[in-house]
């Protein structure tokens, strides 16, 4: 058969976009529709289609040898972009499943799903952005729907406050990002990564370049919720509706990372930018982020907020992927960060979806409220235990392998001190993740809790996430291999 035209390489993003438009059309036909099956169904179909497309492209080897570059290099579809598209779409699928029950009875469901789809489209584009321009546009395409989604529970003070903070910090960060981009443009006279990479060395303007690079870095740090750009994260995750917390903490964070990976490896590659030691910057960021995240998470009373902080901490681990570059194990460390992001996409989403489930049952949010839940909802609690332990790096889930490989690779790159700090944090994280397990299984149930109904969608999502998390141990190679290859392709 004839080879597919190039544009098909962008199929995932296109499909997502189309889904979003479809939803809007549906909404305009029957506004305020509460037809969960139709709306969630459409979204799920679109997402899965995109997922299938991404997987298909990856398997058929579109990602190999530099990938496909479209629109004069504005869009690059390679292993990494497809890999991350898979993360985004899987998370989106889980979130959609969960929202099916979570939104029961809500109006404006169509908008909700549409926004989710638009944000996902933005992510997919970020993953394959080939120029700083597209980076910024897709960045905004992701951010704006996110602000709205966080505020989805319009008359819930928490939700609104969260979205406000998210918006303000986000606006500030995007301004910083944009300014940084403008400086880079000033130095290099281009926005395409190739142009940037090409013109960056022989420009004397080290200071301007440096400021630009660091500002861009700041912009990404906002998306990845890395200290000190993380302040929005705890509130946003805590305040927003459960599925959205899951979505932001997993997918949106991954989006931030993918763009950071690409920009810093391709545009500001180590071999190119000698004057700005951004690796050191990422090391600082990684250490501060994981430390602050984990330590702050250790003493929370609110499970959701604990997870929020823990996801900040996890971002710190992933940052090792950039912080340990230049140690001779580049492909390995970067690949392992990517793998960790994927596994994290499932286990962290699952964890937040469990919270969503708890919110759906409206049992409270503190640890004490979870006491003895294990005897009432054993399956869900077992799944939650898997998420917690996998997040902590105990081999009930793939999180163990990705995390340990990440640390190991860091040692291999010679950054043993980075790994050592990571270890201290990891142990601390085990402590607070165990608090959930302990509440669910060890403590006695404090009486008056009745669980009415076991929502199908939420359960399916949680169980699916758990199953994938567990299966990722034996099937680890399926994700680790492409990740390392994709990472290797960047250098």
């Amino acid at each position: 058969m004839a080879p597919l035209p190039d544009w098909t390489a962008a199929a995932p993003a296109i499909l997502l976009g189309l889904t979003a438009i479809t939803l809007l059309i549906i909404d305009s036909i029957s506004p305020r529709s509460k037809n969960r099956n139709l709306l969630a169904g459409t979204t799920l179909v679109g997402t899965l289609a995109a997922l299938a497309a991404a997987v298909g492209l990856l398997v058929t080897g579109t990602g190999t040898n530099g990938g496909v570059s479209l629109y004069g290099g504005q869009i690059i579809v390679d292993g990494m972009s497809l890999f991350f598209t898979i993360i985004f779409t899987s998370v989106a699928a889980l979130v959609t499943l969960a929202s099916y029950d979570y939104l029961a009875g809500e109006t404006e469901q169509a908008e909700y799903y549409a926004l989710v789809m638009l944000a996902t489209t933005g992510m997919a584009m970020m993953a394959s952005a080939g120029s700083l321009a597209l980076v910024f546009v897709s960045f905004e395409l992701l951010s704006l729907p996110s602000y709205a989604l966080v505020a989805f529970l319009k008359d819930n003070r928490g939700s609104v406050e969260a979205s406000l903070k998210y918006l303000l910090i986000g606006a500030l960060s995007s301004a910083i990002l944009l300014y940084g981009i403008s400086l880079i443009y000033g130095v290099t006279g281009g926005l395409l990564f190739e142009t940037v990479a090409a013109n960056i060395q022989n420009s004397g303007l080290t200071g301007m370049l440096g400021i630009g690079v660091l500002m861009v870095l700041g912009g990404f740090a906002f998306k990845t919720a890395s200290v000190p750009f993380h302040f929005w994260a705890p509130e946003a995750y805590e305040g927003s509706p459960g599925p959205i917390s899951a979505y932001l903490s997993s997918a949106s964070k991954a989006a931030g990372f993918v763009v950071a990976f690409r920009v810093f490896t391709v545009a500001f590659g180590l071999d190119i930018v000698s004057s700005v030691d951004w690796v050191l910057a990422f090391q600082v960021l990684a250490v501060v982020t994981m430390t602050l995240g984990n330590f702050a998470a250790a003493t929370q009373d609110n499970v959701k907020r604990m997870l929020a902080y823990s996801s900040v901490g996890q971002a710190g681990y992933v940052l090792i992927g950039l912080a340990a570059l230049g140690g001779g194990q580049d492909a390995l460390v970067l690949g392992m960060s990517m793998t960790h992001l994927l596994v994290y996409g499932f286990m962290n989403t699952g964890a937040f979806l469990f919270i969503a489930l708890a919110e759906h049952w409206d049992i409270g949010r503190t640890f004490a409220d979870y006491n003895g839940l294990g005897s009432q909802a054993p399956i869900a609690c077992a799944a939650m235990s898997v998420f917690m332990l996998s997040l902590a790096g105990i081999p009930l889930g793939g999180g163990f392998l990705s995390k340990y490989f990440l640390f190991g690779a860091a040692v291999g790159a010679g950054f043993w001190w980075l790994a050592a700090i990571a270890i201290v944090n990891s142990v601390l994280s085990l402590y607070y993740y165990l608090r959930v397990v302990r509440a669910m299984w060890f403590e006695e149930s404090n009486g008056d809790r009745t669980i009415e109904g076991y929502p199908l969608g939420l359960y399916t999502a949680v169980i699916a996430a758990a199953v994938v998390t567990v299966l990722l141990i034996p099937a680890f190679n399926l994700v680790a291999d492409p990740a390392v290859d994709a990472a290797a392709a960047l250098f």
């Binding site: 008359d155 918006l167 944009l178 300014y179 443009y185 000033g186 301007m208």
Partner: protein, 100 residues
């Protein structure tokens, strides 16, 4: 003609003004305006540099950013509205129920 450094200074100044506004004002709307100022600063850069480099990339991109800024404000206003509805005001420091 005016050398590019001056534009750079101007934009830097604007950026700082915006930042100053963000750090000092408590009104959500003023907050948003300050962000707009910062974005404008970036736009000035783009235009100036595009003129210096002699390619249109920057100018085109600045159009994009203007549009995005508008969208951002739109979303922002919406959020400010619900903020007003829930907190009886648009003081950003009021909404501080979630902390630590």
């Amino acid at each position: 003609m005016v050398p590019v450094q001056y534009y750079l200074l101007l934009s830097a100044g604007l950026f700082c003004v915006g930042l100053f506004g963000i750090l000092t004002r408590r009104n959500a709307l003023v907050f948003l305006m300050s962000v707009e100022i910062m974005l404008t600063a970036a736009n000035i850069n783009f235009v100036a540099f595009s003129f210096q480099h002699g390619n249109l990339t920057g100018q085109v991109f600045s159009l994009f950013t203007i549009a995005l800024a508008a969208a951002e404000v739109a979303v922002g206003i919406g959020i400010v509205l619900v903020l007003y509805r829930n907190f009886r005001g648009v003081d950003v420091t009021e909404a501080a129920t979630m902390r630590w």
